[in-house]
């Protein structure tokens, strides 16, 4: 009896629940669709949307905070101290520019869009551009270069920086030897501290690059400008 009851109940439930399901899908048949016809219609992104990284190079002070915040280490920055001869101009906030940003490369292909670099940027030069269609045909195109210096200029400035740094080190050594530089140091310290801190990393490859000085001019012949940052990356990792 119980089995018979269950048998007919199963059939009854089967019929009713299937009909209910059919009714629900039938109702959806006449509901408005939610499809957005993408290339023609586009969604509006919220202001916070993390889309593609951009760096407004004119307001970048080369402080390297973004490069240090990046969990995947895709931001590569090289800087040189600005000298009077450069006419570096002013930062957007009116203060004179102290560092020349020689290279500012971001490997967008590796970016995880975590937004940590944007958050730490003191000058708000790192920002999201609110465009997400960064599709390219080659991986090299996803390497974003924002610095405007031509390669020869970069090399020249780096070498100059090396010389200046060496001189400064010599002076500092002398000053330290004299033990009379107490009044001299506090003034450059706030500027040189982050620079020196950040310079530790790029300084090593540039120092390494400085020694084989003959090798370097050969590079632009073998490849175009897009190659050099990658080679430098390789060096940094090595």
């Amino acid at each position: 009896m119980n089995a018979t009851y269950k048998y007919f109940r199963d059939i009854y439930l089967g019929v009713t629940t299937v009909s209910l399901g059919m009714w629900i899908t039938f109702r959806h048949f006449f509901m408005p669709t939610i499809t957005v016809q993408y290339p023609r219609e586009k969604l509006i992104y919220p202001p916070r949307a993390r889309t593609e990284l951009r760096n407004a190079i004119e307001s970048c002070n080369g402080c390297l905070q973004c490069a240090r915040a990046c969990p995947v280490e895709i931001i590569h920055i090289e800087t040189a101290k600005a000298q009077d001869e450069d006419n570096a101009g002013n930062m957007p906030d009116g203060k004179p520019r102290k560092l020349l940003v020689l290279t500012f490369d971001v490997e967008m292909s590796k970016c995880v869009h975590c937004g940590l670099c944007v958050e730490v940027c003191p000058t708000e030069s790192m920002h999201w551009n609110n465009e997400h269609e960064h599709v390219t045909f080659t991986r090299e195109e996803l390497m974003r270069h924002w610095a405007t210096y031509p390669p020869e200029e970069v090399r020249r400035l780096q070498e100059r920086d090396e010389i200046l740094k060496a001189e400064k080190a010599k002076q500092a050594a002398e000053a330290a030897a004299k033990k009379a530089a107490a009044g001299d140091q506090p003034a450059p310290k706030p500027v040189s501290k982050p620079a020196a801190d950040g310079a530790e990393k790029p300084a090593q490859p540039s120092a390494a690059a400085a020694t084989p000085a003959i090798e370097k001019p050969a590079k632009p012949e073998s490849g175009d400008g897009t190659d050099s940052p990658q080679k430098e990356n390789g060096k940094e990792k090595a």
């Binding site: 199963d10 439930l13 089967g14 629940t17 299937v18 209910l20 399901g21 629900i24 899908t25 959806h28 939610i34 992104y45 919220p46 202001p47 916070r48 949307a49 993390r50 915040a69 990046c70 969990p71 995880v112 869009h113 975590c114 937004g115 940590l116 958050e119 999201w128």
Partner: protein, 396 residues
Amino acid sequence: MSETKEIHIPLGPSPEKWDLLSKGIDPFGDQMILQMGPQHPATHGVLRLELKTDGEVVTKITPYIGYLHRCFEKVAESVTYPQVIPYTERMDYLAGMNMALSYVLAVEKLREIEVNDRVETLRVLVCELNRIASHCVAIGTFALDIGAWTPLLYLFQVREHILDLLEELSGARMLFNYIRIGGLAHDIPTGWIDKVREFCTYMDPKIPELNGLLSYNKIYIERLAHVGVMSQDVALQYGITGPNLRATGFDYDMRRDAPYSGYEKYDFQPQIGAGEQGTPGDCWDRYIVRVREMEESLKIIRQACDRMPEGDVKETIPKSLRKMPEGEVYVTTEAPRGELGIYLVSDGTDKPYRVKARSGAYCSVAAVPAISLGGLIADLVAIVASIDIVLGEVDR
């Protein structure tokens, strides 16, 4: 368990068996070895199950994991504390908020940071939103594996709604990086709470619709009831947590039993399976527990919206995490796929010395052989879908 004693056949027949095969002797008898995955449509990513089947009856299962191993724990040792957060969210990419919360709570415990009430409430709010989104995928893919396509698409609409909300809040749709050590990345945008309330009203009729379309569908019940019964003993032995444990009738929910982030202030009821359509702990129970948990999460969200206190969400974010106190902490939270425990060892530097994640899905995979032997392949598909694994969390 007995299946661990069986001879392990790594990749197809062993050389001796090939010898037998070439002599025309079938070393497997009536049994056949079947590789299910890692590219099988129903293995939820890249799980590989090596099955021994007798006809369609599964007689032995060996799960193989690691196809999605991304060295989370090792990477976490080489990046600074805040930089780990984006990596945590890639464990269970369907519930990034819950993943990040566990890690952040661990760091805060280490550093002894007390966050304010607004931060806690917002964290609960986003985690519960994310839990609904995660369960939507879980239930949707479950239905998909049983052969019903449409519920997946309906649930994805709900999920899309949530992701829109979270995108507006955090800027990203899946890997939010929103919960930060000592606070949150942003405060809420204007009118966001109203949008969450709107979502709650939008969500309300969706669950009855799902029930009508799927939960109480006779075919669906027949496919799931009495299938893959996980007894409480088995669940506890394997360290199963989360909805899978509650489905066995074991009333245990970290949010209620060991509250964190202010969960004790909310009124909600952990859902347990009672074997309504079959045996307690069967696939249908695991399914319905998730459906009901969505309702409970909705309740929590409503309460969080109502009590949203004022405050600064960045107030307690430490200026620098260069110097961390030495020591070790262990924090577990209730993630959608079971308890997520983060064990953190600090040696005082700016990078963690060791991070160990204990994830719910990993334990669930381990229990698959214990609960699905003797079933059909179709049952196995249902079971793998019902324990709701995300291979990102299993492999880490």
